[in-house]
């Protein structure tokens, strides 16, 4: 690689890993010292970045001024008001100032406070960003959103990342070219004749070339979309196969609410609890249930209009016999006067819509059964399941530290037992008991907040 581009490349790649701009300035400076400098950016990059410029600015505006020094400054023939304004003068000192001096003291000091506020606010934002990068959150934020995404410091590339990105780029390129051509065709509006010719050629290309080659590919892309779309779904995030499983549980086992309880969401939070035996410490994952609406919405299939009806036709087996004479032959009187012999058909002929939940659920259940079997054999679906199984754990504290903190005693060799997930309300979790946090694509995600979900669960 061209030496002048190395610094830019590294900064780009570190930025993708979550490095902040001020950290990238540091990287740039180090590489600049080593001779990896892009001359285009060299001057801009190095100007004004000194330790002083980053740390100066916060002055103690609340410090008092002793009377001796005050008198010296006040009696001085120089303009000492900027120095006086940096001090918190007492009442007696202020009364010694003239009316004009008091006004000047007030204005300069108000400006200094305003500048301090901006500096501190900027510093606080910087500080919060840095702490978040290291995975450290305030209690407030930790309680509100325990698991969304891992701290930026843990982000990283992998071979699968490069592969998926590569495939996406290839599809993207075709899409982009088509969009570009479409835009040109719009900007340079085609004449009627060229429009017809071009469309004819495109249709011909589609039929003669694309169809044979792409028919399979198009079917394949439908499949890919069906498998991948659920991961993009912010509201109901789970894999296609995950929803299939919930579908089973709803239709065959537990119903909407029950399936929500059985197929829970991991919050990612783990707590410590004391076991019954000596040295045993339990680590308990906290779960939340899916809402019954989520289960209902995602696991029910709306039938298409075409299929959502049943054609009912008279079966034609109505036999009539005359009570008086025992005869079996009747005439049907029609409005047009063309009376005809009764042929056993009553004329019943209409389409009946299928509206019953029971039929609909049976139908949906059958679909889930077939579709999930297909997905179980599908390698893309399996790959997605693998990716979604990945969990990144960050330990808050060790079992020994927790024990020491909580019981003020040492526990030399704790044995940790991993427990089954439990539903524990947020307010019942002692912050001190927090053991670790797990980050997963789907954990902690819910349409409702955890607290609301608990409320509805209790009301149910």
């Amino acid at each position: 690689m061209d030496k002048t581009k190395i610094s830019s490349q590294i900064r780009r790649d570190l930025k993708l890993r979550g490095w902040e701009d001020d950290e990238l300035v540091y990287v740039s400076r180090i590489l600049g010292e080593e001779g990896y400098t892009d001359p285009r950016f060299a001057r801009k990059r190095l100007q004004d970045v000194t330790l002083e410029s980053l740390t100066s600015g916060v002055k103690d505006l609340l410090k008092p001024l002793d009377d001796k020094r005050f008198n010296e400054l006040h009696d001085s023939t120089n303009d000492t008001m900027p120095i006086l304004a940096e001090h918190d003068l007492n009442y007696d000192q202020i009364t010694k100032l003239s009316q004009a001096e008091r006004q000047q003291y007030r204005d300069i000091r108000a400006k200094l406070f305003s500048e301090q506020k901006a500096t501190i606010s900027h510093g606080q934002t910087n500080f919060e960003d840095k702490m978040e990068t290291l995975g450290l959150k305030s209690d407030e934020v930790s309680n509100k959103k325990s698991t969304i995404i891992p701290p930026k410091g843990l982000w990283g590339v992998s071979d699968t990342y490069y592969y998926i990105k590569g495939v996406a780029e290839r599809f993207d390129t075709i899409g982009k070219y088509l969009q570009d051509v479409a835009k040109q065709v719009y900007v340079f509006k085609l004449s009627k004749e060229i429009d017809e010719n071009a469309l004819k050629l495109l249709n011909s290309y589609h039929d003669k070339r694309m169809l044979p080659l792409w028919e399979v590919a198009l079917t394949g892309s439908e499949e890919i979309i069906n498998i991948l779309e659920n991961i993009q779904d912010e509201k109901n995030r789970d894999t296609a196969l995950g929803w299939m499983k919930k579908g089973y549980d709803k239709h065959w086992n537990y119903g909407n609410h029950g399936a929500g309880e059985v197929d829970y969401i991991q919050t990612g939070e783990y707590i410590f609890r004391l076991g019954k035996d000596k040295n045993i410490i339990l680590r308990v994952p906290i779960k939340r249930e899916f809402t019954r609406e989520q289960v209902g919405d995602k696991t029910t299939v709306r039938l298409l209009d075409k299929g959502n009806q049943i054609h009912i036709h008279c079966p034609g087996h109505t036999d009539l016999t005359c009570l008086s004479c025992g005869g079996k032959y009747f005439l049907v009187n029609t409005p047009d006067g063309n009376n005809k012999r009764w042929d056993g058909y009553c004329g019943l002929d209409f389409n009946k819509p299928i509206v019953g939940d029971e039929e609909r659920d049976l139908f949906a259940g059958e679909l889930f059964y077939k579709a999930s079997n297909i997905l179980l054999e599908n390698d893309l679906s399996k790959a997605v399941e693998e990716i979604c199984d990945n969990v990144i754990f960050v330990e808050h504290k060790s079992a020994s530290d927790w024990y020491k903190e909580k019981y003020k005693q040492d526990l030399i060799t704790p044995i940790i037992h991993e427990e089954k997930p439990e539903k524990i309300k947020t307010q019942n979790i002692d912050l001190q008991d927090r053991s670790m946090i797990g980050y997963n694509i789907f954990w902690g995600r819910s349409h409702r907040t955890a607290d609301k979900s608990e409320h509805f669960s209790n009301e149910a």
């Binding site: 590294i10 790649d13 701009d21 300035v25 285009r40 950016f41 990059r45 004004d48």
Partner: protein
């Protein structure tokens, strides 16, 4: 502070050693001068 301009033509470097060095630098060794220089040297050696 001036914003560093980036070259938009840069693409991912598909070299596991280079990416590992950057991952290491990201994991708790943020201020490690050595890692950053090591990454630069690795890139240079890739030609």
């Amino acid at each position: 502070m001036s914003q560093i301009q980036e070259d938009n033509n840069l693409t991912d470097i598909n070299d596991s050693e280079y990416n590992k060095i950057l991952d290491d630098a990201t994991k708790g060794q943020r201020t490690s001068k050595d890692k950053i220089i090591e990454a630069a040297k690795r890139l240079e050696s890739l030609g």
